[in-house]
């Protein structure tokens, strides 16, 4: 291999494995990982369904223990981050590497990759922050992975109205809730860390171009998947 070819390889790696799925290996790898993650979350959700609908005691009513309005806002935040991620993808595909640029005759400025990815990172970090606040408040009120803590505010409420608060199944409720939302929160945290890494090592130094923005596409796929999973979890855990 000549020196010149090596330089080209560094700047724009060739397509490995064109046959098969017909995509570059990073993207194929991400899709295979996402397929395995579908199985992972299905195992969690499946276990939840079995426990939830197999139990004879009443389950806590939606909104009795969990703060649904706060989580609805958090869901909206994650949806917004998904849009900003896809806008980042579209921006670099159009060659817009910049942060913000004025558009003649328009009030709003045109955002580039740097702007939209930063928005995504902020929304993702805010989601994790809100989830942490929710956890701290829940534990403070006495809702733990093992159920309602004795002597806590929630335990008192549950004693007064055991059907509404699902007192008999509180242990299962706590363990399934913290496991599912915790693993999802871990995924979001990993996504934010990965995006931050990309932002400082690739996006700010302007290493992406309309000819090569695989990192943005691959992290985007992961991020949208995290959003997709949350859409399902929010419905199953908070609303039903």
């Amino acid at each position: 291999m000549t020196q010149a070819t090596q330089t080209v390889d560094v700047m724009r790696p060739p397509f490995p494995a064109e046959p098969g799925a017909g995509v570059y290996s990073n993207k194929l790898g991400m899709w295979v990982f996402l397929a395995s993650d579908v199985m992972f979350f299905t195992a969690l959700i499946g276990s939840y369904i079995v426990l939830r609908f197999g139990v004879t005691e009443p389950w806590a009513k939606p909104g009795a223990v969990l703060n649904v309005p706060l989580t609805a806002v958090n869901t909206f935040l994650l949806i917004c981050s998904s849009v900003s991620m896809v806008k980042a993808y579209a921006a670099i595909a159009d060659g817009k590497k910049y942060f913000l640029r004025a558009v003649p005759g328009k009030l709003l400025r045109d955002g580039g990759l740097k702007f939209w990815l930063l928005v995504t990172m902020i929304c993702g970090a805010a989601f994790v922050g809100v989830q942490l606040v929710e956890y701290i408040k829940l534990v403070g009120h006495g809702f733990t992975p093992s159920g309602f803590r004795e002597g806590s505010l929630l335990a008192e409420h549950a004693a007064a109205d055991p059907v509404k608060y699902g007192a008999a199944a509180a242990g299962m409720y706590g363990s399934t809730f913290f496991t599912m939302t915790g693993f999802h929160g871990f995924h979001v945290t990993c996504g934010v860390i990965s995006m931050t890494y990309l932002y400082f090592t690739k996006v700010l130094p302007e290493k992406y171009s309309p000819q090569d923005y695989r990192g943005i596409e691959v992290i985007g796929l992961y991020w949208h998947f995290v959003d997709l999973v949350w859409i399902i979890l929010f419905t199953i855990v908070y609303l039903i």
Binding site: Y24, L34, P62, V83, Q211, Y213, D227, I240
Partner: protein, 97 residues
């Protein structure tokens, strides 16, 4: 030109803001249905799951661009779904027995 992201070039770009608006409205409807309506529980569960799947499909098809991908790639994502259904069914059957 040896572009490294060539798989979704031959289609019109979706209106992402419109999809976002759909997702927002569906979330509002979903939360409203869960708390404000007097729909029987069984129907409510079906309706909420329908909305959740609808929103998930919007994300997968338009944000993840599955709508514009090749079938071979779509299949990679779809393969776990029947396996997941089998897993859940098996778990439920074990519980029933």
């Amino acid at each position: 030109m040896t572009s490294t992201t060539p798989t979704i070039t031959g289609h019109k770009r979706p209106n992402y803001i419109l999809i976002w608006l759909y997702l927002f409205l569906l979330t509002v409807v979903e939360v409203s249905a869960a708390f404000l309506s007097h729909i029987p529980k069984k129907w409510l569960i079906l309706i909420l799951l329908f909305f959740a799947v609808w929103k998930a499909l919007l994300v997968a098809l338009f944000f993840m661009h599955l709508k514009f991908e090749r079938w071979r790639l779509r299949i990679i994502f779809m393969i776990p779904l029947p396996l997941a259904a089998i897993l859940v069914t098996a778990a439920i059957m074990e519980k029933v027995w």
